[in-house]
Subunit: 335 residues, 2 copies
């Protein structure tokens, strides 16, 4: 089978491709080719795999070609992040809305040319939820909580969920939208996401550096590991439509923790000196964005697919250390 | 002030323009000009008003020009109807999604050129609601019911609600989405909407013609009069943002009735011979679409704005007769 992973050079995307290559199969069929479509080049180990084909460049210009090319499935992860979209409205529209529409148009054109619909897993986000003056945000957002996005990023994710649901209803694609929780601990440098600090306050202290936390330690958020996220995406791909349960998006599992609980876990894993490297310095812009986010989430439909959250945040920190122990530069924030 | 009414030549649009012209003001400001943008020509009485400017042609080609033209407010009613969108997917995308996006892009360009944001009332629809395998449709849909559109029409309405909410958040427009209930009794001939029969089973018998009802008489649906709909649109336009309450769409008021109750009301108003002109002949395509629709609705936010549903469906029938008594051809379905 032939797959495409958009955003396949990114943090989650590269881990997904690595997991798919390690499995060698999906739905019991051998994976012969994975096309990584990304603006950036993927890690060298992925590019070196004979099954991988790398296509580097803006996705919007790439997806039109898909109407003439057969794919069994697409993992659509490519996305500008929330902070970027708040700063540059056009970037968000182009990267997160217009690109997905163009992808859907191309996949539909294949079906209208007589081919079977491709399976599509879309990485939506917990950022679809938020409070509105007309409806409060519940303590925990569920699969059926009314979305009320507070950012352009969340708006475009929600819009794409519904376009994919309608394309699926019409048989133009076999689409499944999964709402990713905030993935931590991300390696490397901070990115433009307003949620970047959720990784930074763990990663930088572990690397011996000071980290700034821009929000109060009472802030609570649904977090997840990259391992659980990759597991979730693959499970959602392989699920039957009946097991997936409808056309609306589902939540992937989360560990609901406060910043204080995160730092308690950091101290438990790495000691008080590491924790002491986190300094609180409120950033009103980031705190304002985060105030509109979910404080926690449940994932009942994902649980029915056998997906479980990590047992606690300390487990996620230990995974991060294990994953990057062979690459100590990552722990130094230099990768 | 200068207003645009897209779809201003349609049934609801023309009634809205007529009401605005009769008032002469909106938000306490004199209405100097109303631009009717529609594919079709408006009724002669509207075109004859010196305050009205008619622009006939596809809206998608018209809205780009709005970036160079000042409007205080826009009522965006233009839309392909549900049955048309199911039959022609591209028509729905172009008419209901791409046109709204182009309108929003043009209004944003005005703001980025230094002008005040235009007020925008968007006619969304009760068609955003539906059952999904993951969540049942409640007996009555409320302002905060989770939308799960079952048609492309409903999908595009919901998507536009969220785009308008995000444009509003960014200050590019002062947008308010109001979900119209199914408007009956529409004069004239049946249109392509799957809901067309809700008018037909009243209008045709009153005109001495036989009507076919394509669904069982137990089917329940939230209906409203054109008068209440026009009232709702104007009230939503004039509401302060605080009174409107958030950026999510609100439901306009409905009378929740079964087909049997509609026919009972017809008999009460016009007699048993008129009711006897309705024949039941199930149409699986229409019954299938209608099965995914709401059986009734509430409108709490609209009530807080002072909007009330008509007291009963018989009142709506009497309004229809009053409105068209001067035009007996309408009662014969010839208009």
């Amino acid at each position: 089978m032939k797959l495409m992973v958009t955003g396949g050079a990114g943090f989650v995307g590269a881990r997904l491709v690595r997991a798919l290559l390690a499995r060698g199969e999906l739905q019991g069929r051998a994976i012969e080719r994975i096309v990584i479509a990304d603006q950036a080049a993927p890690p060298a180990d992925l590019a070196a795999d004979v099954r991988v084909e790398v296509r580097t460049g803006p996705l919007l210009s790439q997806v039109g070609a898909l109407k003439d090319e057969a794919f069994d499935g697409v993992f659509h992860l490519a996305s500008a992040v929330s902070g970027e979209c708040e700063a540059d409205f056009d970037l968000g529209l182009r990267s997160n809305l217009d690109t997905t529409r163009a992808l859907l148009d191309a996949l539909r054109a294949r079906v209208e040319a007589g081919h079977a619909p491709a399976r599509l897993v879309f990485s939506s986000s917990v950022a679809v939820f938020g409070p509105d003056a007309s409806v409060p945000l519940p303590a925990l957002v569920t699969d059926t909580t009314l979305p009320a996005p507070q950012t352009s990023y969340g708006t475009h994710k929600l819009v794409c969920e519904h376009l994919i649901a309608d394309w699926t209803r019409k048989g133009f694609v076999d689409g499944r939208s999964a709402r990713l929780m905030t993935v931590a601990v991300r390696p490397g440098r901070p990115n433009g996401a307003a949620s970047s600090f959720f990784s930074g306050i763990i990663r930088e202290p572990l690397a011996g550096e000071e980290a700034i936390c821009p929000v109060d330690d009472t802030v609570s958020h649904p977090l997840t590991s990259v391992r659980a996220t990759v597991d979730g995406l693959i499970t959602v791909y392989e699920a039957s439509r009946e097991a997936f349960g409808g056309r609306l998006a589902l939540n992937l599992p989360a560990v609901n923790v406060t910043v204080r609980q995160m730092l308690d876990a950091l101290e438990a894993v790495a000691g008080p000196a590491v924790r002491a490297r986190v300094r609180f310095e409120r950033d009103e812009r980031i705190a304002g964005i985060v105030a509109g986010w979910s404080r926690g989430a449940t994932a009942e439909r994902a649980a029915a697919l056998g997906l479980r959250p990590e047992p606690d945040f300390a487990t996620i920190i230990r995974q991060y250390i294990d994953d990057h122990a062979a690459h100590p530069t990552a722990l130094r924030g230099l990768q």
